[in-house]
């Protein structure tokens, strides 16, 4: 990488660092409570929320991994687009209810809601642990995203592991420091820079690159030719199951796979603690609904970005690694095709793009730990400032864990776990979303359904082999009793719901104590200006009043 690209990259990174620390002074407030540190004062309007939630849901890893799957010839890779279409109507319908009940009762995490709704610390703990387990590898993958960029950019010499990963350490230390000091305000402010950079890079890429490569029509046909060539060259290996056939459009056998990946991922997305954190930081219900109509702009961007995978194929991009690592395709495309200074902007966009979600995810995981483990089990009388302090430290530990993960364990292990994370997090859907509408489900039935879904999903994912991996070979498995491939999370979810319904009938018939529900039906449509709903909740008020 040229000196120009390095300078541009470092300059943009420095701007973001200054912003991250300055964020502590933005919308100035006492940061010694979770409402302020962990939810940015619950006061973000439409504009800020658009950047924050957009920056939160469309992570650097997404920007690396989605085009990588298309580059590698996975015909279901484009499911990311229907997935992000389906998710917004669901957000429009479900999340305002979660916002309302959380606002009225001062809930900070999804597990807080579960605890209040079902009166069960155990069920809340299950939801909290699932959230932390699913989020941790996701943070690790943000660091993998940064690593991919640094690797292609040729940062960090060829010395020992310390020198090689020094830039990652620096990026990580900076991230940890400003998240600690500024809380959710830091990613909210940085998200502006990140998204402007990403939009500029993608728009330039989808206009400039095709003009260099003979237009979109040529890119699609060149990709098609390349995949057809691969399939005929490797016909024997494909027939023997040692290689996967490549394609651009899913064949009829993969229709269910494509649709179930889209739906399962959409349902899982807003169960992730970091999405809930983003949503709860908004000022009122209208902000969430307005954003459900505005956020699809990011889906458009994601779709264009995904197609860069084909652009890389058409441009003849070769990636390093053995076996070749398709995740390097987009950074390598930038390196090959852009002038150095703009390649620097592109690298910065991806690296900064990793910092925003990594910060929000670590805050969300830390809040879960503080509220649903530390306070629930160890310090029921923790003061707001103690909670904030514990969360700050927990957010550091979560990030250190993610760093160790990436450096000490293999990258594919992090990817496997993130795959499992999607399967796991979807199992909290009955407790949270169904709980927003009805208390009919019995708390122990929800817990049993969750356990069944977790076990089935983990076991099935473990058993999936691919040409390169014996276990965790992919997100698809045969639907029980058929040959049709579907998303594992969707089947696990079906089992979860089935177990929950059957056991609810049994437990209700046996008149087992269903637990106390501290919420009222009216709480689910409460908005600011209503009685008992402050524009900004007083963090010192007793929460479970």
């Amino acid at each position: 990488m040229s000196a120009v690209a390095v300078s541009v990259f470092v300059f943009l990174f420095l701007i973001v660092t200054v912003l991250g620390f300055a964020a502590a002074r933005w919308r100035k407030a006492d940061l010694n409570s979770l409402d302020e540190w962990g939810l940015g004062g619950r006061g973000f309007g439409t504009f800020i929320a658009w950047f924050l939630i957009g920056g939160d849901l469309y992570t650097a890893y997404t920007f690396i991994a989605v085009p990588a799957t298309l580059y590698a010839g996975s015909s279901v890779g484009f499911f990311a687009v229907p997935y992000t279409i389906v998710v917004y109507p669901l957000i429009f319908l479900f999340l305002p209810r979660l916002w309302s009940v959380s606002h009225r009762h001062g809930y900070v995490t999804p597990a807080d809601f579960v605890q209040g709704r079902y009166g069960s610390k155990t069920l809340a703990l299950a939801v909290a642990l699932t959230g932390i387990l699913a989020t941790a590898p996701y943070i690790a993958l943000q660091l993998v995203g940064i690593q991919s960029v640094l690797e292609v950019a040729g940062f960090g010499g060829s010395g020992g592991w310390f020198v090689k990963d020094l830039p990652l350490f620096i990026a990580f230390a900076v991230l940890a420091a400003y998240t600690y000091s500024s809380g959710l305000r830091a990613p909210a402010l940085i998200a502006f820079v990140k998204d402007v950079l990403i939009y500029v890079v993608i728009i330039v890429a989808v206009i400039y690159l095709p003009s260099q490569l003979g237009g979109w029509g040529h890119i699609f046909s060149a990709t098609n030719d390349s995949f057809t060539q691969f399939n005929s060259d490797n016909a024997d290996a494909i027939a023997a199951g040692q290689a996967s056939p490549k394609g651009m459009i899913p064949p009829p056998t993969l229709h269910w796979a494509y649709a179930s990946l889209a739906l399962g991922s959409a349902l899982a997305l807003f169960m992730y603690p970091h999405s809930v954190t983003g949503v709860l930081s908004t000022r009122n219900r209208g902000v969430i609904r307005r954003n459900a109509a505005l956020l699809p702009a990011y889906s458009f961007l994601l779709g264009l970005l995904a197609l860069l995978g084909f652009v890389a194929v058409a441009a003849g991009v070769k990636v390093a690694g053995n076996p070749p690592n398709p995740q390097l395709a987009v950074p390598q495309l930038f390196e090959n095709e852009f002038p150095p200074w703009f390649a620097g902007v592109g690298y910065a966009a991806i690296a900064i793009g990793a910092l925003v979600p990594a910060a929000i995810m670590s805050i969300a995981a830390a809040n879960l730990f503080t509220r649903n483990i530390y306070r629930a089990y160890f310090r029921p009388d923790a003061t707001p400032s103690e909670e904030a302090q514990v969360s700050k430290i927990a957010s550091l530990l979560v990030k250190v864990g993610a760093l160790v993960f990436v450096l000490a364990l293999s990258r594919s292990f992090a990817i496997n776990l993130q795959l499992l994370g999607g399967v796991w997090i979807l199992q909290t859907f009955p407790a949270i979303v169904v709980g927003l509408y009805t208390r009919w489900f019995h708390r122990w039935a929800v817990l049993a359904g969750w356990a069944a879904g977790m076990l089935y999903g983990t076991w099935t994912a473990y058993g999936v082999a691919s040409p390169t991996q014996a276990h965790f070979g992919g997100p698809l498995a045969s639907f029980p009793g058929t040959d049709t491939k579907v998303y594992i999370a969707a089947v696990a979810f079906g089992i979860n719901v089935l177990v929950t319904i059957v056991l609810t009938l049994v437990l209700r018939a046996m008149k087992v104590d269903p637990g106390e529900d501290q919420t009222h039906w009216d709480d689910y449509s409460a908005d600011v200006d209503d009685e008992n709903v402050a524009a900004e909740i007083d963090p010192r008020a007793r929460v479970h009043a």
Binding site: F78, V81, P82, T84, I85, V86, Y88, P89, L90, F92, L93, P96, G215, W216, G217, H218, I219, F220, M248, I249, P250, P252, H255, Y258, A259, A262, L263, N284, R285, G286, R289, R290, A292, A293, L294, P296, A297, S299, F300, G303, L307, H520, W521, D522, S525, D527, V528, D529, E531
Partner: protein
């Protein structure tokens, strides 16, 4: 539903919400109906149908969600979607 509702204005206007759900339904169903768009032709600006149709769906679903938002505002403080 509970009997001790504090004010009649809080009762959800069911008809409006049924309409909103009907409006949002295509945004969920169409993207999942893969056989509908699983083809190369007709192409648009060099994009196979499979790809440009899904881009078009993004615009359609954004428009539908915006309409739903407008309707939820109409319901004003009376509906489930009281947004103020």
């Amino acid at each position: 539903m509970s009997h001790d509702s504090p004010a009649p204005t809080r009762r959800p206007s069911t008809g409006l919400w049924a309409l909103i759900i009907v409006i949002l339904l295509p945004a969920v169903v169409l993207p999942l109906w893969v056989p509908l768009y699983d083809k190369t032709d007709p192409t648009l600006f060099g994009f196979p149908f499979f790809f440009w149709f899904q881009f078009a769906l993004i615009l359609v679903s954004a428009a539908l969600t915006a309409t739903a938002y407008g309707l939820s505002q109409l319901g004003g403080r009376r509906g489930e979607g009281s947004v103020r």
